[in-house]
C-alpha cells in the first residue's frame, strides 16, 4: 500500500434529483476494494473532512464525502454554509438518506469497487451514519460521537432531528461506535443505552469510549483533539473495515 491517490470534486444527483457537490478520493492502485461514504460533521464540508476522505483512499479504499449543505449554501465557505444550515434546522433525515444512497450508487459503479460499501460520520454525521445504515443495504458503519440516536435535542435547538434508536432492528450491517467519555452529546449514559438497544436487537456492534476525551477527539485542528484516542480509534476503524469490506 503506497498511499498514492487522486482526489477531486464531483457532482451527483442526490435526493429529489438535486445536484449535490461531493469530494471523491480513490487509490491509484486498481485492485478491487471496498468503499466508504464519509459524512461530515455539523461544521460542514471542510478541509478536515476532506483530509479524512483522502485518508481512506490512502489506506486503499474508495471514499466520497457529500456536501450536505450544497442546497443551502452553494459555493459558500464551509463555516458560512454550516451557519446557514444550522439556522434552517439542519439536514432533513429523508434528504440525508437520499444523498448517501446516491454516494453508495456512485461508489458501487466505480471499476475498482468490490461492491462492499461502508459509511462513517462524525458529530451530527454520527447520527446520520446510524440513520443511513438503518435505511440502506450497507456492509459497515462507523458512528463517531453521534448525538441524538437516543435522546432529544434541547428545546432551544433549531435542529429538526429526533431520536432514531427505534430503527435499530433495521440496522443492515455491523456498527463500530467511537465515543469520548467526557462528551455530553452523546453522554456516556446515552451510549450505554444504545449499546443495550443493539444488543437486545441482536445487532453486531462494537463500542469504545475513551477516557480523557470529549466530543470531536478526531479533529486534529481543534483543541478537542486527543491524539491517543484518535490513534487508537483509527486502528479500530482499519481493523473493522478489513473485516467487513473485504470481498
Amino acid at each position: 500500500m503506497q498511499g498514492d491517490l487522486r482526489a477531486e470534486t464531483t457532482w451527483l444527483e442526490g435526493f429529489g434529483g438535486d445536484r449535490i457537490e461531493a469530494y471523491l478520493a480513490e487509490p491509484l492502485d486498481q485492485r478491487p476494494t471496498g468503499a466508504m461514504v464519509v459524512i461530515h460533521h455539523m461544521p460542514g464540508y471542510d478541509e478536515g473532512t476532506k483530509e479524512i476522505t483522502r485518508r481512506f483512499a490512502a489506506e486503499g479504499y474508495l471514499a466520497i464525502c457529500p456536501n450536505l449543505y450544497t442546497r443551502e449554501a452553494p459555493g459558500a465557505s464551509p463555516d458560512d454554509a454550516a451557519a446557514a444550515a444550522r439556522a434552517l434546522g439542519g439536514v432533513p433525515d429523508e434528504r440525508l438518506v437520499g444523498d448517501v444512497a446516491a454516494c453508495v450508487d456512485k461508489l458501487r459503479q466505480m471499476p475498482q469497487s468490490n461492491g462492499r460499501v461502508g459509511v462513517i460520520g462524525y458529530c451530527s454525521g454520527g447520527r446520520q451514519t446510524f440513520l443511513a445504515a438503518c435505511s440502506l443495504p450497507l456492509q459497515a458503519a462507523v458512528d463517531c460521537y453521534g448525538a441524538f440516536v437516543v435522546g432529544t435535542p434541547p428545546a432551544s435547538s433549531p435542529l429538526k432531528v429526533g431520536p432514531i434508536a427505534d430503527k435499530a432492528p433495521d440496522l443492515s450491517c455491523p456498527l463500530l461506535g467511537l465515543f469520548g467519555a467526557d462528551d455530553q452529546h452523546p453522554s456516556p449514559a446515552e451510549v450505554q443505552e444504545l449499546d443495550s438497544i443493539l444488543t437486545a436487537a441482536g445487532k453486531a456492534h462494537e463500542f469504545h469510549s475513551y477516557d480523557g476525551a470529549g466530543h470531536a477527539f478526531f479533529s486534529t485542528d481543534r483543541p478537542s483533539f486527543r491524539p491517543e484516542a484518535a490513534k487508537d480509534g483509527w486502528q479500530r476503524i482499519w481493523a473493522f473495515l478489513a473485516a467487513n469490506l473485504s470481498a
Binding site: 460533521h41 455539523m42 461544521p43 443551502e72 449554501a73 459558500a76 465557505s77 463555516d79 458560512d80 454554509a81 454550516a82 451557519a83 446557514a84 444550522r86 439556522a87 458529530c123 451530527s124 460521537y145 448525538a147 441524538f148 435535542p153 434541547p154 432551544s156 435547538s157 433549531p158 435542529l159 455530553q184 452529546h185 470529549g214 466530543h215 470531536a216 481543534r222 483543541p223 478537542s224
Partner: protein, 83 residues
C-alpha cells in the same frame, strides 16, 4: 458544534462583511465548538441576512467571560442612553 442550543433573534441594522456593509435581519447565538477561536467551546454570534445568501454573515466567537463582559457593556450602554 454540538451543544445544539441556539437562540434566534430578529434584528434590524447593518453589519460589515467581506464585501462591505449589508443590512442584517437575523442573529443566532449559540454556545458550541468554535470554527477558529482556540478554545473547546465559545459563545458564537452570527449576524445574518438569509435573503442575501449564506455569505451575508458577520461572525464572532468569544470565550464565556468575554461574552458576559460584552453583554454587560451593551446593557449598561442601553440603560444610560436614549434615542
Amino acid at each position: 458544534m454540538c451543544t445544539y442550543q441556539t437562540e434566534r433573534v430578529t434584528i434590524q441594522g447593518s453589519g460589515k462583511g467581506t464585501k462591505g456593509w449589508f443590512p442584517v435581519t437575523d442573529a443566532t447565538v449559540y454556545f458550541d465548538h468554535p470554527v477558529d477561536a482556540p478554545m473547546e467551546h465559545s459563545l458564537n454570534i452570527d449576524f445574518l441576512n438569509p435573503s442575501l445568501g449564506p455569505s451575508a454573515r458577520v461572525a464572532v466567537e468569544l470565550d464565556r467571560e468575554s461574552a458576559a463582559a460584552l453583554s454587560r457593556a451593551i446593557g449598561e450602554m442601553l440603560a444610560s442612553t436614549s434615542d
